[in-house]
């Protein structure tokens, strides 16, 4: 079964069905694609010739102080304002409950005068506890990777290049712990960004802030190294600079986003699936096959390079590495056929793990930029869960049976099926998971699990329908007003191509990590390094172009466009685009 075309764009495309794609475990196996927001940003900056440069760099010898970077786009001017401060080691935590960080920063729309700088300096370092300015598009904070930071400063101060193997575990000097947008703590609402020609797409402003922070992190370590040893200090080589990313540490706080923005998530998935359908329908020639092989080899090298602490993820990477090697052998041996890509996917889907299947899908999408990059424009969604009160109940019943079969037919009565409940802690309003019947807070449960609610709606609907065979949705709601949110969501999501994430969020076996990874992959994160089921460290922009690359007209185009699955400098490089 494939999905029905939801627009003329999908006519003739063989899209995978929602039952396959919206499975939570599969979503939790996603890797970032060329359509991810981080990749989108670096292409956009190149295509539109953005100019980014430092306008203020007032740091002391230890790297504490303030810096400002100006972003000039064809349509507007923005400034990233960064505050660096001393932080006691005991206070350095990635948890959202922290109240101090090594760095805090914000992306400002327009100019930053002295008065605004004073306001920012008084509030941005406080993050949630501050009252933030409405011209801030993004605020965030980051902590040092102490090991990497010290290793880099020491090496550079000694006039040497740092050992890049440090970056295979944690590919960054700083790790953000939350990147806030959309009106949080007084900053600009997303509604305002919708009219902004540069940042109207979701998360592009956040990505821009993080991308520029990466540049600051390099300039800061070089500055500290020079302060330690001005005569001998070295600058990082461009290759190592590019191999430095920015880390991110994410916990359960991200999970509700995926549930509370179902239309957006469905749209992101649809765009990815369109890209996959387009790519897999291409008729490859030998050049395409050679490029696919080169991409597979680079991804294999990336997996071999990646060091993660989590044993389960390490095993998944190991399996993916082995399976990708099998895929390379397969690709080298099979005869070239016009349906080669479909044959590859069919083989992968029957023989390989979910992780490797989705990795191959990612690489296939990578192969056809001209055909898929325009899809990036459709990564936004008008998020309105609208009721259709005049919908006949018989039609609502059919919608539930067709699109929510996974929910209405599930068993929510057994202990394991209702094991977890979600709630919000008084500590910074952080979402948490509790064990039902054992932990406090069940009476304040967050209504995140749509599956059990859909089942209750269905059962009551069937009863009402027996009494009122010609009844309307409004008749059901007048009897059960508490279903307003659920019915609105059911009716709306049934009109989307991919609908809901198909998972019982109460189930004991449900892995919140899958939710986190799904979203992070769309943002462009890689090197997933879970800390248990509820906490993950990732890296952004490792391998991405540098600001100096944008200034240099001689920079090769692939620097801006072809930096997925980065491999450490000096490792054996694959020539990608012969």
């Amino acid at each position: 079964m494939t999905v029905s075309p939801s627009s003329s764009l999908d006519l003739g495309l063989s899209l995978r069905p929602p039952a396959t794609v919206m499975d939570l475990e599969r979503l939790g196996a996603y890797s970032p694609t060329r359509l991810s927001f981080a990749r989108r940003l670096t292409r956009l900056m190149h295509d539109q010739a953005w100019r980014v440069h430092c306008t203020q760099f007032d740091l002391d010898d230890k790297g504490y102080g303030a810096a400002i970077y100006r972003l000039q786009t064809p349509a507007g001017r923005y400034h990233l304002v960064i505050f660096s401060q001393h932080l006691e080691d005991a206070k350095r935590t990635d948890r959202v409950i922290a109240d101090g960080w090594d760095l805090t920063f914000g992306l400002v729309e327009g100019e930053v005068d002295d008065a605004l700088m004073e306001t920012l300096a008084a509030n941005v370092p406080l993050q949630e506890a501050g009252r933030q300015h409405p011209r801030l598009l993004v605020i965030s904070r980051a902590n040092k990777s102490l090991r990497n930071f010290e290793a880099f400063v020491s090496a550079l101060a000694a006039g040497q290049q740092p050992d890049v193997s440090y970056l295979k575990g944690a590919g960054y000097l700083y790790r953000t712990t939350a990147v806030y947008g959309n009106g949080k703590f007084g900053i600009a609402d997303y509604d305002r960004l919708k009219g902004n020609p540069d940042f109207y797409q979701p998360f592009l402003a956040q990505m821009a802030a993080v991308f520029v922070l990466r540049e600051f992190s390099v300039e800061q370590v070089e500055h500290i190294a020079r302060a330690r040893s001005s005569a001998k200090a070295a600058a990082l080589t461009p290759d190592i600079r590019r191999y430095l990313g920015i880390g991110n540490s994410t916990g359960l706080g991200m999970a509700p986003f995926l549930i509370n923005h179902p239309q957006l998530i469905s749209q992101w998935v649809l765009v990815r699936e369109r890209a996959l359908a387009i790519a897999s329908a291409q008729e490859p020639d030998e050049g395409d096959r050679a490029r696919m092989l080169a991409l597979c080899r680079r991804a294999t090298a990336y997996l071999a390079d990646t060091c993660v602490d989590d044993e389960a993820q390490r095993l998944r990477n190991e399996v993916a590495h082995g399976e990708l090697s099998q895929a390379i052998a397969w690709l080298e041996l099979v005869p070239l056929d016009i349906v080669l890509w479909q044959q590859l996917l069919d083989w992968a889907n029957t023989q390989l793990s979910l992780e490797t299947q989705e990795l191959i899908n990612t690489l296939l999408i990578e192969l056809y930029p001209e055909q898929v990059d325009a899809l990036n424009d459709a990564m936004g969604a008008d998020e309105n869960l609208d009721l259709t009160p005049d919908m006949p109940l018989i039609q609502l019943k059919q919608i539930l049976e067709t699109h929510f079969d996974w929910a209405i037919n599930a068993d929510y009565d057994c202990e394991n099926a209702r094991y977890w409940f979600w709630y919000q802690s008084a500590e910074k309003e952080e979402p948490r998971l509790g064990v039902r019947g054992e932990e406090l807070g069940e009476d304040k449960e967050l209504a995140l699990a749509i599956g059990p609610t859909a089942q209750r709606v269905y059962r009551d609907l069937v009863n009402v329908l027996q009494q009122q065979p010609r009844g309307l949705t409004i008749d059901l709601l007048m009897e059960f007003p508490e279903y307003m949110a659920a019915i609105r969501r059911i009716q709306t999501m049934a009109t989307t191509a991919y609908g809901e994430i198909r998972a019982n969020l109460w189930h004991r076996d449900m892995k919140p990590m899958h939710l986190l990874r799904a979203k992070l992959s769309f943002l462009g994160a890689h090197r997933f390094d879970p800390r248990g089921d509820r906490w993950v460290r990732v890296t952004f922009f490792q391998g991405a172009p540098l600001l100096s690359d944008y200034e240099n007209h001689a920079t090769a185009p692939e620097i801006f466009d072809d930096w997925s699955f980065p491999v450490a400098p000096n490792a054996e490089q694959t020539e990608m685009w012969k």
Binding site: D189, D390, S425, E427, R432, G434, I474, P481
Partner: protein
């Protein structure tokens, strides 16, 4: 203090849940208040002036339908806030108007009637022409008429005082709402009676207010904000060592 629209809607939503609203009704009530505030129509003032009524209304989300036929419905608001069940009453009329082309609903005995505009905006966004009428006071008689054109983000609003008091001047604490699927119902005051226009909000004024709110944030009274946050805090679970482990491992 300045807050963003998203903060206002989010805190209101949690506050309504904290008061006892179901999640769907809390969503709608928060959207109604935020809509009013974002267009410069003092949604927070309307909310907080009748906060006790809103809290009392939290448990009553089922409108009491006194009469209905295919085109018309009369519901009893039971002296509750329109934030409580105004959404369902309007959805009832919306369903009728979609089927019959035009529908009328009368919500009797309801409070905080200004806030109904927030839900009317959603129906307009879904393609319905919506006009509401209510009488503010009896002596002097002041009336308000609010009209949304289908697909328009903002209404035209007129508030006027009648010079002549009609013979039948029974107190009117209800709202009458007309919905038309295919024809405009914009308010144009053409009464033969003498009247004094007290307030007039045109679409352009309201759009300008929204733009200003997006650029500069919304100004709210810190005490009111704290009051809302206190209600919102009732949705939160006190932290404990056990709950901290529910957030994942610490470093």
């Amino acid at each position: 203090m300045k807050i963003s629209l998203n903060e206002l809607q989010s805190v209101c939503r949690k506050a309504f849940v904290g008061m006892g609203f179901t999640t769907g009704h809390a969503d709608d009530a928060a959207a109604m208040v935020a809509w009013m505030q974002s267009y410069g129509l003092d949604g927070l003032k309307a909310l907080t002036e009748g906060l006790e009524c809103v809290v009392a209304s939290a448990v009553s989300v089922r409108p009491d339908v006194v009469y209905q036929d295919a085109d018309l419905a009369v519901v009893d608001g039971q002296q509750m806030s329109v934030l409580s069940s105004g959404n369902l009453a309007l959805e009832l009329a919306f369903a009728k108007a979609r089927i019959r082309g035009l529908a009328v609903i009368k919500i009797r005995h309801c409070r905080q009637r200004q806030l109904i505009m927030g839900y009317m905006s959603r129906l307009a966004d879904r393609g319905m022409n919506v006009t509401a009428f209510w009488r503010h006071s009896q002596a002097p008689i002041t009336e308000q008429v609010v009209g949304f054109r289908a697909r328009s983000a903002v209404p035209s609003i007129r508030v006027y005082e009648l010079a002549d008091i009609p013979e039948d001047d029974m107190p009117n604490d209800g709202i009458t709402i007309l919905m038309a699927n295919h024809v405009d119902l914009l308010p144009t005051v053409r009464s033969e009676d003498e009247y004094k226009l007290l307030a007039r909000h045109d679409e352009s004024d309201l759009l300008a207010a929204k733009q200003q709110a997006l650029e500069e944030g919304l100004t709210v009274d810190p005490e009111i904000w704290q009051q809302l946050k206190s209600f919102a805090a009732q949705t939160l679970v006190e932290a404990s060592e056990q709950s901290r482990s529910g957030a994942g491992p610490a470093e």
